[in-house]
Amino acid sequence: MSTRREFLKFSVAASGGLLIGFHSLGASTLALAQEPANVFMPNAFVRIGTDERVTVIVNHSEMGQGVYTSLPMLLAEELDADWSKVGFESAPVDPKYNHPAFGMQITGGSSSVWSGLEQFRQAGAAARALLVAAAARRWNTDPASCRTESGAVFNGDGSNRKLTYGQLVVEATKLTPPGQVQLKDPKTFKLIGKPMKRLDTAVKLDGKAVFGLDVKLPGMLTAVVARPQIFGAKVKSFDDSRARSLPGVIKIAQVPSGIAVIADTFWQAKVARDALRVEWDEGAMRGFSTAQMMQSFRERAKTPGVSVRKEGDAPAALANAAKKIEAVYEVPYLSHLMMEPLNCVVDLRQDSCEVWTGSQFQTVDRANAAKTARLPEDKVQLHTTYLGGGFGRRANPQSDFVVEAVHVATAIGAPAKVKVVWTREDDMQGGWYRPAFLHAIEGGIDATGNPVSWRSRSVGQSIMAGTPFEGMMLKGKEYDPASVEGVDDLPYSIPNMTVESHRVDVNVPVQWLRSVGHSHTAFAVECFIDELAALAQKDPYQFRRELLLKQPRYLGVLDLAAHKAGWGNPLPKGVGRGIAVHFAFGSYLAHVAEVSVTDGKIKVLRMVCAVDCGQYVNPGIISAQIEGGAIFGASAALFQELTFEGGHLQQTNFHTFPVMRMNECPEIETYIVESNEKSGGIGEPGVPCAAPAIANALFAVTGKRIRRLPIRLTEAV
């Protein structure tokens, strides 16, 4: 019975097609479709059926980065599965699916592949060992004499007899899993390292992929919530007399985050919300202005911060430098802006609760849902759907969009099935942004043009404070490492170096956004290195080279990008090249951008990207992530900022917070360094170099420096 329950849970969690099928067909029909006895599930990560299907249970969320392909590849490699029979399902919430490094179920930190390497390969190898043992027993032969290939065990007695995995399911189920298994020699890999096609493409081409917003339960209502326009504002009073009379409206109720309007359909709920009159107690943030905040950051940067790194005597070296320069770089708040706005479905019953959403943070989301529903955690199940983009927003430390949906369900009263939908405007105004940051840097060079001094001060909010990672990340430190990552490990040989951090507390909720601290530190650092190169009258590529001679992996990507981009080759008038190199999430990236300026209009023409992510799994997915990362970074560099005036966010939707479009997209080339080093991340490292490479290319064209994002040529100095 427990096996069947487990199976049903997996099926429901798996893909929306099944989810909808489950509810329309009824549980009994689905259960009959595959008898649990016909399934071999040697561990939490794989299930093999008598129909030869190999289903890999993936403990990371698919938000575009390819985990539903790369993690099954790891398992299938060791299993010697027939790749055409391999599928996937999303894991339920269970400690056995915890992230091996973070100790909870989470998708983040560009860590799915490197943290899953051992986990998924072991699971595949263990399953293979049992199938081999089952075959050897059938043949009465030594398992060591058998070999496996493409979903079958072959007898090594010269007869070439074979048994497919499906034929071995029943016997393998009766065997005890081995303690120790031998993993393959990488030289024999058939899948790992190959550009295998993604397993989740077909369902994304005919509307079958089910995202959180697409989940539909029988009798489900839809809610939208009127939330405060100013952070920290509270409902003073509300008048719902007109809203209540509108068609389809079921209930209007106050919840901790605002006023929930619950109706039969989304549009009815949205129209009724527009008819609601809410008076807010605006609170302390009513006068908040980002212009004023940045001014206070500038003042703060004039004072010494908490020491992060100190080598030599930077002030003394600066005083004695032949030439010196200082620059202040500023970046704004940013919205994650996933294409699929936030949403969450809750099925609340008297003694249990089910949640469907595109979560990156299953352990935390379930715990918070349980707490809100006043239920034990084991009575709450969370089903991870496809994520229409995540970029960190769907790993919210307070589970804001999940907790709110449980509150709405509670307001309806169990039993209740409700989907809370955020409009694009709700999503953008809902907070949890990439924090605004300021980096003030000063440096000096000696008479030969070598840098002798570096002092940087970073000013901004901490994103780790108040999260489950606070203890791990901030322990014993007076600064947030996520504020200075990318400056604290500056690789350039500069003998005197000081890195300082100022933590500023602002009542704007902030959170990790794709590439986190690196999204702003790389801009400041790589632009300032370029400024030092110009001060030394040296070529910016050669200048970096000389300072990275002891850093072979930085040098490797730098040289590769410069070579492939044809660094030094003449360019048409009005076109310039810029270069940047950075290390983040275990991987090294270099970008060369070619940018033109025509009548004051910027166009990014070409981006050449070189990546060293150590041993890699799927080069096709890596290229996609590097291309996407470059576009994500370029969008922020060219177009994006969130600003506040009088406490109100000034941006609402794509027209005021633009994303790069097809006609603006450069040609992008990606080159991957062959490496035997430890695997690094790939989802985020493609972002940081885009902004500095573009800004440095603009300097090559205009002779003026970009010190603030988004780039405005009128502000260049």
């Binding site: 359909t265 996933m338 496809y386 970029f391 996609a624």
Partner: protein, 156 residues
Amino acid sequence: MIGFSVNGKHVDLEVDPSTPLLWVIRDHLGLSGTKYGCGMAQCGACTVHIDGEAVRSCVAPVSRATGKVVTTIEGLSSDLSHPLQRAWLDEDVPQCGYCQSGQLMSAAVLLREKPQPTDEDIDQAMSGNICRCGTYPRIRRAIHRAAGMVPKGGAR
């Protein structure tokens, strides 16, 4: 009562005529392949065809579809056989996949109008569709690839 055809099937609906077609398709007809992204014709995730023209269904009142032929991503082909779907598979285009229904529906009109589109044609036809994952280079390649598959007479 509003009547129109969706993916070859006639439907009659009792619905407020000002309701955006997007939400009628999603909530009343249960076709969830057409996506909500912005609600103001900025992102193209909701693109469907009305009488063969690409329309942002998030701002088109359902009344606009009266008596017309509506095609959604579910009706582009019954078996992923449309040249664009095949090219999207070959080029491994989608990442998160959320915008791809709209991308395909916009590209389908482009390919019908211009069976051999230039890069400029692609810029013009596809710039109304945002992809936050940044799949544009692959979309461009896939459209060119699909153009090579289109038999005489053009794509649907």
